[in-house]
Amino acid sequence: MIRLEDITRRYGDETAVDSLSLEIAEGEVCVLIGPSGCGKTTTLRMINRLIEPTSGHIFVDDRDILSLPAEELRRGLGYVIQSIGLFPHLTVAGNICVVPRLLGWEKSRMVDRVDELLKLVGLDPNAYRDKYPRQLSGGEAQRVGVARALAADPPVLLMDEPFGAVDPLNRERLQSEFARIQRELKKTVIFVTHDIDEAIRLADKIAIMRDGKLQQFDTPEEVLNHPANKFVHDFVGADRALKRLVRVRVEDVMRSPATVLDGADLLTLQVGAGRRRFAYVVEPDGRLIGWVDTLGLDEGSVPEAALTRVVPADASVRPDDSLRDALSRMLGLGFRSIAVTDRNDVLLGEVTFAAVEDAMTEGDEHISNLPPEGAA
């Protein structure tokens, strides 16, 4: 879909990007990452010709991007930047319609598209359509920025540290919403960031750059498990095992839990819970109430005494959360397993500490093969 062939960009004696070659398949999220000054933003801006390469060729859909006018090329590549750059004199709707207007869309089509996109990025069209950028929070503005980039349904999205300027809480929310939108739309995305966690979370492929040179171009799993050199190894950081957990979703490792119905008598409980010490207690419709510790169930004791009631939102995870979220919940609560519930608090399964451990150590055998620290 996008192919960079031996791209070099020089500024005087400085080489910002040094014979870089990349190939990004359709529908893939490719994250360009590296320390500041590594040439990642320059690379991104060469794809939509905001910067021209000194040498080399870039192909989008097997067409050399130099073969069509820069403006026409850019209208087919959605563009999102860290500072967003919404037009302050246009409403949210006006901003979203910039590219459709350049392309000469019908008015009714633009009106429909605005509502569709605002819903997609999680903003209520009636409340936001006619607002001006200065009335938006940072997170809302960036959602509008993403909606604007998607307006004319370009096959490719170029995103330059899109979530870099929002606070950590909003950044996580924007990241998971981006992941959801991407699962739905399957765009080809080039995403620049300096945040390795963001890269591991969102990328299908990670391109790690340093001083204009490509260090490694591979899946997040490969980058974590087989760093190509000392730089990548150090850049990824010592907590590779934890980072790997970001890639695994709860639903991939959850197992079905032992459950009993609320109000069941003690004998049933002991039979039902059987082999396991803990059992989840649920309503007849499946909603989680809490759990019982079977060790606390003696003959004649009151079931209520053994039941620990919980607020499901605080003591469970969702199927599409990452294993790192699950682990952090477990550590926070001090449990060795955690319930998995859906949006309505219905119990779906559980994730155990052992499962998290398995995912963490998987592929760790290579680490002993790395050259020792400082030997590179």
Partner: protein, 376 residues
Amino acid sequence: MGAFVALAGVTVLPFVELRPNRLVPGNAYSVAAAGPWAYLLWLLVAVGFLSAVAPTARARAASSTASGYGLVIALAWGLGAASTALLVDQTAVARVSLGSGVWVLLAGTAILGFSGGEERRRKLLRWAGPLVLVAGAVIAAFVWGGLDRISLAREFSVRASSFWSLLGGHLAMSGAGLGFGLLLGVPLGLWATRNRHVRAVTLGVTGVIQTVPSLALLGLLIAPLAALGVAVPLLRDLGVRGIGAAPGLIALTLYALLPIVRNTYVGLAEVEPAVIDAGRGMGMSSWQLLWRVEFPLALPLIVEGVRTAAVLLIGITTLTVFAGARNLGILIFEGLGQFAPDLILLGALPVIALAVIADVALSALGRAFTPEGVRA
């Protein structure tokens, strides 16, 4: 405050001056010369004092407004009555001139009228109604109240035909200078944002021009323009001579340049770089970016520059008389030459009025051109 000033105007200072002819000084008369109108003036000043002590904000605003507008009307009729009374038994060349008390009273009136509330100024309709009423009453004083007998009106009636052509000449001269200033200044300001060297030169040169005294600039232009007119007969036929409209027009255009160039430059340069980057990245051409984004955002500041230039030019236009132009400046300088104070006023008052009207009108235009999304 306004009431105190008005009080000083009607008590301490002379109201009118009766002079044997238009050139020699005469005797001062107090407000009592206005007969019964004097009592109304006193009464209205008293109403003005109410505005300081009235219990509610509404009452304060109402009394200061009523006294402000009322004083203008009573003053017009009072002056008419005073000149009618004083001119009885006088020769045909005797004159009644405005005393210093009238000017002080007018200043107090203005303070009273405007302190009635900033709010009212924004609502044009509520403001315009009383204004039409006051203007009507003043015109009626000319027709039926004897106001046409005061010296200023007599100077006007002597020169009625040339007055209007001089006023027209003034408007044409200032307008043309402003027009050329716009035609040159906006492109220069735009060019300055695109080129560092142009910026240094244009902002520097227009700044230096502003420091040259207007009379000196006119003098400097006469010789080269005269030479040019002699050398190129075609230009001379077009009006390029050392004396006449040409040197004045060139001087006015040069003076208009600084505020227009500077505000155009600042307005365009202040557009956020992220906004430009986003626009280019979405595929807007330089022209589209300029027309749809940069100019709309810079327009309020450009209009502000035009306003500054307009007020400046309306004043400086009077000086172009020295290079042979014909406008209201002629009345002022003839009046100075003859020591005829009322003739000076006949020239100066319309110039002040024009400047105020230009100021108010262009301020309103600037507000109208401010996009809603960037309004404070």
